[in-house]
């Protein structure tokens, strides 16, 4: 539902396209995608790839749900089932929510801070290719277990956190776990590259006047997320390397017979793993911190509070990891300490919830689809957060740990939080990057089905956990009172699946004949809305000068003495800043030139990984590819 903005006529699609294409040569054609270093194209590729992985992870979840729909079923064998939930969890975490967050960061960071691209465009492309190849590498494992079509799956089957010593050769022969540890390792490299790049971009490339405390909240959350990424991934990398040395070269890191302790793995994994869960949620929190003010038609309530609580979450997330290990026998002292730190971390999150509510309070809420999803986020994430708090009461977690109660908790925060936030973001920014509005009516159908499906799927799991149903079982007796709730959850999962189909349908019809978006369909607040949709390759004809938070809004409205905004008279707004049609048309702006070297370097990594699994002869090949890519990259003349 495009709304005309007083004082400005929406830029037509044709205008926008001319703008986009006139700017840079390599903006067209299939091959340009392989060599692109444009953050917007990379962001789109990140998003599309992650969404396809979401469908894959979703299908895996549906198979899990079919198997669990009733007691004593044998739709899947135990091995197949174990592969399903392992791949489901690994996919959803590493191939869906993380990269979707990264996709938004790619698309938005330069636009929101008024930059022409990220600091290291080729590193950015490298990050994407490594991610894509790593994800494909991980999924190749499905076909390595014999005849895939007879259901002989080679995929890893030790759970998404792969507790040692179950992952050791003695208990997991075959190469599923090898694919898992090497695949996740490759994905880690992609995340690290992204993290470094975003931090430098945010710290160094802000438009004139955009001091740290004038940055949009999404940028703040991206910054915190990026820091978490660059400090958490190396810890996971070490754990995965240790596992690799155990499995491939006979080391003893997790070998109990040699005196090793499997708890080493758990500590390392969760020192990574807890910051990781905030890596998953903070971008979504950033997204809804942009959506809520736009549609409440009010600024974010307590901007500094929201920012600082985000930073606080970032710091505190390092001090709670052992709450995943309450039942491992760490002792009363450790359990108390980690119980208290876990309780504490709810406070900064609570602050945000209340600030969001206060943002809406007193506003004039425009209930568009993005707004629905943002409100859905608050409503559903709160449930998940509160179940999280019940975990932190340590002794009651002795009952909850490894049951469906935990499964309920993390889907409530991951689906009700991260996925809702991400869908809100898609509906919100889709017009900016395609020039077309997503259909609002179908969007609402999508939302309601998803909300209902979500509650039907995951709230019964809370009940199941309380009724003593452990997680990761592919079959259960029929006399424990679990049948009804399991059936309900399965129904819910299919409702979610239907809602996803509605979404896909909406995207297709909207791309074909959706309403034209224009520069600023939502009357929004941040800089990306000041330029055409889709943005030209160089983003800004002229780098904007920023005077306040929500600078773009303040160009459109001034406040009267009572604090009520009044639109700047027609024409004035256009005159005072670039609207993308006058000015340089992007001529004379030097954009980084495209390069194949990031892709080439990225190909080296899975080659090495295949070599480690199948034949060491491949390793030098991979190393050479990597070296050629990197040397080419460094020596390639950067366009002047």
């Amino acid at each position: 539902m495009a709304r005309a903005i007083p004082g400005r006529s929406p830029v037509t699609m044709a205008d926008a396209l001319r703008q986009a294409r006139g700017a840079g040569e390599p903006y067209r054609g299939i091959w340009s995608w392989f060599s692109t270093v444009d953050h917007k194209k990379i962001g789109i590729m990140y998003g599309v790839a992650a969404f396809l992985f979401f469908l894959l992870g979703g299908v895996e979840a549906l198979l899990v749900r079919i198997q669990l729909a009733a007691p004593n079923q044998d739709f899947l064998s135990p091995d197949q089932y174990n592969a399903m939930f392992t791949m489901h969890g690994t996919t959803m975490i590493f191939l869906v929510v993380m990269p979707l967050g990264v996709a938004f960061m790619n698309l938005l960071i330069p636009l929101m801070i008024g930059a022409r691209d990220v600091a290291f465009p080729r590193l950015n492309a490298f990050s994407f290719w490594v991610f894509l190849l790593g994800g494909l590498f991980l999924n190749v494992s499905f076909f390595t277990g014999g005849n895939f079509f007879k259901g002989e799956l080679g995929a890893p089957n030790t759970g998404w956190y792969g507790y040692a010593p179950l992952t050791e050769n003695a208990f997991s022969p075959g190469n599923g776990v090898d694919f898992w540890m090497l695949g996740v390792q490759i994905l880690g490299i992609a995340s690290l590259a992204g993290g470094f790049n975003f931090i430098v971009t945010i710290l160094n490339l802000r438009a004139p006047g955009m001091s740290l405390f004038r940055m949009p909240v999404f940028i703040w959350m991206s910054l915190v997320t990026s820091f978490l990424l660059i400090f958490a991934m190396p810890v996971l990398a070490v754990a995965m390397f240790q596992l690799m040395f155990d499995r491939l070269f006979g080391a003893n890191f997790f070998n109990a017979a040699a005196g090793g302790t499997p708890l080493l793995w758990q500590h390392m994994f969760w020192i990574f793993g807890h910051p990781e869960v905030y890596i998953l949620i903070l971008p979504a929190m950033g997204i809804i911190s942009e959506i809520l003010p736009t549609f409440s038609r009010k600024p974010l309530f307590g901007y500094p509070f929201v920012v600082f609580s985000g930073i606080a979450i970032g710091f505190m997330s390092w001090g709670v990891w052992a709450h995943h290990m309450f039942t491992t026998g760490l002792g009363a002292a450790a359990n108390s300490a980690f119980g208290v730190s876990t309780i504490l971390i709810s406070v900064p999150t609570g602050v945000k919830i209340f600030n969001w509510l206060a943002t809406m309070w007193g506003g004039k809420l425009r209930l568009t689809t993005p707004m629905y999803f943002a409100i859905g986020f608050i409503a559903m994430f709160t449930i998940g957060g509160l179940t999280g708090v019940t975990h932190s009461a340590v002794p009651s977690d002795y009952q909850q740990n490894d049951t469906y109660y935990v499964v309920a908790h993390f889907h409530q925060v991951l689906f009700g939080g991260a996925i809702f936030g991400i869908f809100g973001g898609i509906y919100y920014w889709f017009p900016k990057f395609t020039g077309k509005m997503l259909h609002d009516g179908w969007g609402k159908v999508n939302f309601w089905m998803m909300l209902i499906g979500f509650n039907l799927t995951f709230q019964p799991m809370m009940v199941l956990g309380i009724l003593g149903m452990p997680r990761r079982i592919q079959t259960y007796p029929d006399n424990l009172g679990w049948n009804f709730w399991n059936a309900l959850a399965t129904v819910g999962a299919f409702v979610i699946a239907a809602s996803v189909l509605v979404f896909i349908y909406n995207v297709i019809i909207s791309l074909r004949n959706g309403a034209e978006a224009g520069n600023d369909p939502w009357d929004a607040r941040t800089l990306e809305w000041s330029i055409p949709s889709p943005p030209p390759e160089h983003n800004f004809d002229e780098i904007p000068v920023v005077h306040s938070v929500d600078d773009f809004w303040h160009r459109k409205y001034v406040e009267d003495p009572k604090g009520r905004p009044v639109p700047v008279p027609a024409g004035a707004a256009v005159a005072t800043h670039q609207d993308g049609r006058d000015g340089g048309h992007g001529h004379g702006i030097h954009m980084p030139s495209p390069s194949y070297f990031p892709l080439i370097s990225a190909v080296g990594l899975p080659t090495i990984a295949f070599g480690l699994i199948y034949s060491y002869a491949l390793i030098p090949v991979g190393v050479i590819i990597l070296a050629v890519g990197l040397y080419g990259w460094v020596l390639e003349p950067v366009s002047e």
Binding site: D117, R122, G209, P234, A239, Q242, A251
Partner: protein, 199 residues
């Protein structure tokens, strides 16, 4: 490598640190956690070894002290290389770069000698916890030194081709940062792993 921001930006919206340098600092911060994890694993396991050989039977502190000293010296020559290019003295820079690389190689040879010695006396990756944690930790460090040597030699070759100018001093500075970091990590390893817990 980097896509530079327009020069018109006032300082407050940028750290004022060059993009590439900031990237290097962040990378080293990340690396610190990498080595921190490896060292923690070593320390956690050092008293859990069930079978020999044990550290005290193998460590040759005088020998390792010498090789540590060599690595330390390479940091000095790295500093000199940077100072040279900043003065515009490419010839001196070239000498000091090679010198740094050679010291690095000398250190690596020392490590290779130490590893083979340990191996001959019955310690491998597979033998016990000590073997696993020791070789993986010091091996990763060695790999970092090796990468540093490769970079140094690559830059040296480029400079022979006349491709390195005074304006490239940032590149040398970045390599220096990396090199010093790897050095410092070794000092920590030498102190914690060899000196304090080696007996």
């Amino acid at each position: 490598m980097a896509y530079a921001a327009p020069h018109t930006q006032p300082l407050e919206t940028s750290t004022g640190v060059d993009n590439r340098k900031l990237l290097m600092w962040l990378f080293l911060g990340s690396e610190a956690l990498f080595f921190g994890s490896l060292i923690s694993a070593y320390l956690l396991y050092r008293n859990r070894n069930l079978t020999g050989p044990f550290p005290r039977e193998l460590y040759d502190i005088p020998f390792t002290s010498v090789s540590s000293f060599i690595l330390l010296m390479s940091s000095v020559s790295m500093v000199l290389a940077l100072a040279a290019i900043q003065r515009g003295d490419i010839r001196r820079m070239r000498i000091w770069l090679v010198c740094t690389a050679l010291l690095g190689i000398l250190f690596l040879s020392g490590q290779a000698y130490e590893f083979t010695g340990f191996y001959d006396r019955g310690l491998s990756l597979r033998t016990n916890l000590f073997g696993s944690t020791f070789f993986v930790l010091t091996g990763f460090h060695g790999a970092h030194v090796s990468i540093g040597v490769i970079i140094l030699l690559s830059v040296w070759v480029r400079s022979l081709q006349g491709k390195i100018k005074q304006s490239d001093s940032l590149t040398i500075e970045l390599i220096g940062l990396y090199w010093h970091f790897v050095d410092i990590v070794w000092i920590v390893i030498f102190t914690l792993v060899y000196l304090l817990t080696g007996r």
